[in-house]
Symmetry: D2
Subunit: 346 residues, 4 copies
C-alpha cells in the first residue's frame, strides 16, 4: 500500500498534462544543453510572464535554484540575510555556504516572513573589512510557513535592500501558490515589486523536476551560464525541463494546480478547526497548514499518513496539500485525527 | 526542421520504454528524496549488477556524478589524475576544482586512455605538505575518444592506484557502450576489476536524465548523503529517476540501446573509410568516430548536421551515434560528405 | 602624535623580551617551514603546557587559527555552533564559511558565553540529510565580552558536544588573560576540561604575530599539515614564530603580560564606576571593559583615544587594555571622560 | 650544529637592518589592521616604485600573495594558465584551486618560462559554457628555474593575455633578484610592461615575512580588502610587516641583498663548471643553480648541506643562494662536492 499523505507537495506525482508534453517533444534530435527550440520557447514564455528583461536559466532542484541564483549576484565575502525558517538556512545542508562562500544571517520570525525591523540588526558593518558585507536579502514566497507576502511588503523589502546596495532574492519554490493566493500575475509581485533574482519553482506544483532561475534586471546574469555549468546543473537533454514549463504555462495549468492545492489547505484548516485540542499556528494563505497536536497523537497518525514534525520542541507539525490532494483525503485524515484526539484525551 | 545529427548521444530523445515507466510510477503519493519503493528497487538492481556492497546514489548530471563521487573519497588537499581529454578536465567548467578543492593533474594520451607510464610523472610528493596529495586516478569508460579499456587495463590502473594509497574512479557516462563493446557484464570491469567509485551513466543511452554514483566497496559512502544534498543533487521526486533505471535494466533495454549505437558507429566508420581524404584517428570501439576533415567541408556539413569540432588545431571532428541513429542517417550523412569532399578537392 | 588608546590589545607593540628572541634565533641557516630546532622546542613547550598528546601547528592570525583548526575536524556538511558575538561570526568576514564550507549557527547570549540551554535549539536534525550536521561547538576564552568560562562550564560544554558526537573548539585569542583570571594553568581548562581543538593566541598578549592551533587528542590532526599549507598559513621562516612562543613561555612572560592587562582593566572598571552616567555592562574578568555612554561623548573621546563601538544600537563601547597599558593612560582617560560626561549633561 | 646550505633563500635569517626597523616602530600604540602611519608610508613607497595607480595589500606568505591576488581578478569559472614548474602548480598544495575555485592549466617549459606558443593549446573554449574560461596567465619572475624574463618577453605575454581579455599575473617571490639581474627598476618590467597583478616578495630576500599583493591598474583592487580578510591574511599588528618594507626600500637594501645572492649564484656556477661530471641545466640568471649530479653523491652532500631534489626522475638538484651566502660557503661546498664526485667515479 502506498500511503497518501500531507508530508510535502513533492510527494505528489506529475500532472498528466506535463506527462503528455514529454511525449510531444520526444521526437528526433535537438541540440543539447539548452540550444533547442523548446527551451527558446520556454524562455520566451518567462519573458512574457515576468517582463522582457528576464533572463532565465533552468536547473533541477530548488536548492540549486536558490544557491546558484544567489551566487550570480554575490562574491564570497557577502552575507545573505533571511528568515530563520528559510529553506536555504534549514533544508539545504549548507549548500549556500559551501557554494557561495557567503555567511548566512537569519532572524526569527513569527510567521516565516521578514521585515526591515526584524533584520535590521544584521544591517551593519558596511565597508568594514572584518565583517561580511550584506549582499542579499532572501525572502520566500509563499513562505515556509505557508504565509504570503503582499505586494507592498515585497516592495518594502526591495526598497530596503536596494537602499543598502543589496539585492532582493525571492525563493519561489511555491510561487504559484502565492500568486493564486494573491490573485495576481507573477510579474506584479516579483519584477514589478523590485525583486532582482527569483527561484521560480515548478516541481512542487505538478512538474516532475524543474526550477527556473530568473534574473529580472539587465546585467545581473552576466557570466551566469558558467555558474550553472560549474554548479553541475546544466541539463544535457534540456528539452525535457523546458517542455514541462511549456505545459505548465499553457492553459494556465499552474493556476489549476495551485488553486486546487490552496483550496484543499483551506478545507483542511476548516476541518481542523472543528477538532478539539488542535491549534492552528499560522494563517493559512497557501497550501500549508501548521498545527500543534500531542506527540502521541501525531505518532499514531503517522502510521497512516506521512507528514513531518516542524518543531520538535513545540509539537508543531506541518501538513501540506498538493495539486492531487482530494477532498476524501482530508475527510479521512480529519476523521481519524478527531478519533485519536478523543482517545488521547480520555 | 529539426536536424538530426552526430553531435552527441544526448541530442537523442528518450527511449519509449523509459517514457512508459514514468506513467507506471506516477500514481499516488510516495515519500520524496528517495525513501520510496521505486528507489529501493532500483538500488537493489544496482546491487545485482555491480555486487552486494554497492551503495548507489542517483543524481541528475554526469558532471555531478563525477564531481560528487570524487568528493566522497577525497579531501581538498588531494589531487586527481586523469587524461588530458577527460570530461572532468575539459567539459565541466572547473566544477571538480570548485567543489572538491582538489587540483586536477592530466597527461596527454594518444587515445583517451591513461596508463601507469603516462601518469607516473604526477605520482610524487607523497607526504610532502607543499604538494597536493595524489588521491584519485580517474579513467573514462568508454573514453572520451570512443576507446574502451580492457579488463586487464582497468585492473592495472586499480592496482597502481591502490599501491599508492589512492582510489580508482571511473567516469562511466558511456558505460553501457563499453560493456557492449567488451561483451561483458558491468561488474566484471568495474567492481571486480578494482574500481572504487563509479559514475554510471544513463542519460546518453536513452534515459531522460539520470546518473548513478556507485561506491563499490564498503565504507566509501560514509557521509555521502550529505555531500549529495549539499551538492544540490538530491531529487525531491526521486521516483522519476529511479524508475528510469528500472526500465533501463528490465529486459536489457540498456543492451538494446548501446548495441545499436555501437553498431551504427561501426557502420559509420565503414562508410567513412570509403571516402577519400577522410582520416579516422581512433579505433572505433564504442559509439564515437573521430575524423580529420577539411574545415571548409566540416562547415558545409554542419549546415545539415550538427556535430562538434574536437580539436580546432588539427581539424579533428567528433561524430557520435546514439540509440536512435538510423542507417538512413548514416547513408545520407556519408553520401553528402563524399560529395562535399569531392567538391572541395576540385 | 601617535595616540594611545583602548581600541584593542593588538594596537600595542611587541614586548621587548620577544624582540630580543628574534635576535637570538637569527643566526645562520635553518630549514624552512618548521623543520628547525626552534620550532621543535616550541612544540615541546606546548606539550608541556597542554599535555603530551598535543599536536601544535603555528599560523599567523587568529582568524586562521580558528578557521583551519575547525577545518581539521569537520567536513563541509557540518555546522558550527557559537555565540552570536563570536569572533568567527562577527569579525572574520565569512572566512569560516568560505574555507570550511560549513554553516555557522549562533545564539544570542547575555555575556558572550554559551550554555547547553542557549544552543539547544541548534541541536537537531542529526542524521537528516537536508540539515547541516552539527559538528563543532566553539567557545571563546576569554569571551569577546571579556567574560571567562569556569572549568566547570567548559567541562559541561565538552560533555554536551561529545554526547552529540561533536567536537569542542576553543577560540583562545585571549587565553592567557583567561588563565590569569582563573589563576589556573592552561591545561586545566583546555585539555583536561575536554577541549578538542584550541586556537592558542599570542599576538594580543605581547607577541608580534603568532597563533597556535592545538589538537589536544590523538588522531585529530591527521592530514592537518596539508590543511595549513593549502590554507596559505605555512610560514617559510617558521623560526620567527616559534621563537616568539619560546620567549612567551620562558620565565612566564605570558603571565606577566596578561596579569598586567587584566589589572589595568580592573583599575579602569573602578575608575569608570565613579563616573556618573556610565554603565558597565559586563563583569570585568579579563582585559576588556564594556560600557554604555552617550554617543556624543564617545565621539569626543575618540578624538583623543582610539576605541571601538561595540553595539551602535545600544551605544555600547568596548575598552581593551593590554600588556603595555599604563596607570597614567587610565587616569587620563577617565579624567577626560568625567569632564566630557559632565559637559554633556549640562 | 646548524648546517648552512643551499636549500632555499628562506633558510637564511633576517637582515640586521630589518631587525632594527622592528625596534624603530615598536613604540606605543597604533591602530591595527593597517590603518597606521607605517603602513601608509609603505604604501606610498610602493606607489613610488611601481607607479601612482598601484594598490598594495600586505600578506604573510608567497602562497597567499599568489592565491589572493589572483582571486581578486577572477571568478571561479575561470582558468589560470602557468608553467608546469610554477610555484602555484607544484608547491601550494592546491591552494589556488581551493580558494579561487579555478582550474589551473599548465604547459611544460624548457626553462621555467612560458611563451604564447607554449600555452596556445590552452587558449580555447572562450564563451563555451562547458569549458573554464581562461582568465589569468601567471608568470614567475625570476622563474622557479632561476631564469629571468626580459622586458620584451613580459610585454609579449601581457599583450597576449590582454588580447584574449585575460589578466597577466606575476609571481615575484624573487622579484628583487630579477630586477638586479635585468639591472632595471621594478616598474619597468612590471607595471610598464603590462603586468596587472603582482606578488611582490620580500621574505626570500632578507625579510622575516612579508609579501605584497600589488594591483597595478585602477579598478582591479575593488573589494580586495574583503578577499584578504576572508583569506585569513590581514595582519592585526600590520606595522611589523610594513616596517620591513620601509627598511627594505630604504638605502636600496633590496639591491644589496639581491645583488649579493645573485653574485653568489654566479660564483657557484663558476665553481661547479670546474667539477667533472656535474651538469648545469639552466642559465644562471638570478640566485638559483640547477645541476644534475649522481644521486649517491647528492645523498652524501646532504649530510653536510641541506638542499632539495628538483626532479627525482632526472637526478636534478636545486642550489639556492641567499643574501647571507658567503664565498666560504661556496668554496667549502664545491670543494667537498669535487671530492665526492671523484670518489664516486672510482
Amino acid at each position: 500500500m502506498i500511503k497518501r499523505g500531507f508530508a510535502s507537495d513533492n510527494n505528489a506525482g506529475v500532472h498528466p498534462d506535463i506527462m503528455k508534453e514529454f511525449l510531444a517533444v520526444n521526437e528526433g534530435h535537438v541540440v543539447g544543453y539548452g540550444a533547442d527550440p523548446y527551451t527558446e520557447q520556454a524562455r520566451e514564455v518567462f519573458r512574457e510572464q515576468l517582463g522582457p528583461d528576464t533572463e532565465v536559466f533552468f536547473v533541477f532542484t530548488g536548492t540549486a535554484a536558490n544557491v546558484l541564483g544567489i551566487t550570480g549576484v554575490t562574491r564570497s565575502w557577502n552575507s545573505l540575510i533571511a528568515a530563520e525558517t528559510a529553506h536555504l538556512q534549514q533544508d539545504e545542508c549548507g549548500a549556500p555556504e559551501k557554494f557561495t562562500g557567503c555567511k548566512v544571517l537569519t532572524s526569527e520570525t513569527p510567521d516565516g516572513k521578514i521585515t526591515p525591523a526584524l533584520i535590521a540588526r544584521h544591517m551593519h558593518g558596511f565597508g568594514f573589512e572584518h565583517h561580511p558585507q550584506p549582499g542579499v536579502i532572501s525572502i520566500t514566497q509563499a513562505s515556509e510557513m505557508g504565509t504570503v507576502y503582499t505586494v507592498e511588503e515585497i516592495r518594502t523589502m526591495a526598497g530596503y535592500a536596494h537602499s543598502h546596495g543589496m539585492y532582493l532574492h525571492m525563493d519561489g519554490a511555491r510561487l504559484a501558490n502565492a500568486a493564486v493566493s494573491l490573485n495576481l500575475p507573477f510579474r506584479s509581485f516579483t519584477t514589478d515589486a523590485g525583486v532582482d533574482v527569483l527561484s521560480f519553482g515548478g516541481t512542487k506544483n505538478g512538474m516532475m523536476m524543474g526550477e527556473a532561475i530568473c534574473f529580472l534586471k539587465p546585467g545581473l546574469s552576466e557570466g551566469f551560464k558558467y555558474i550553472r555549468k560549474q554548479g553541475m546543473q546544466l541539463a544535457s537533454k534540456m528539452r525535457y525541463i523546458s517542455a514541462q514549463f511549456l505545459a505548465y504555462f499553457r492553459n494556465d495549468l499552474w493556476i489549476l494546480c495551485a488553486s486546487h492545492a490552496n483550496a484543499m489547505a483551506s478545507m483542511l484548516e476548516d476541518k481542523l478547526k472543528g477538532i478539539s485540542g488542535i491549534t492552528i499556528t499560522q494563517p493559512v494563505q497557501s497550501n500549508g497548514v501548521f498545527v500543534i497536536m500531542p506527540d502521541v497523537v501525531a505518532e499514531k497518525m503517522m502510521k497512516h499518513y506521512f507528514f513531518y514534525s516542524w518543531n520538535e520542541f513545540t509539537s508543531e507539525y506541518r501538513l501540506m496539500t498538493s495539486w492531487d490532494t482530494t477532498e476524501e483525503d482530508i475527510e479521512r485524515f480529519t476523521f481519524l485525527l478527531k478519533q485519536e484526539m478523543a482517545a488521547a484525551s480520555l
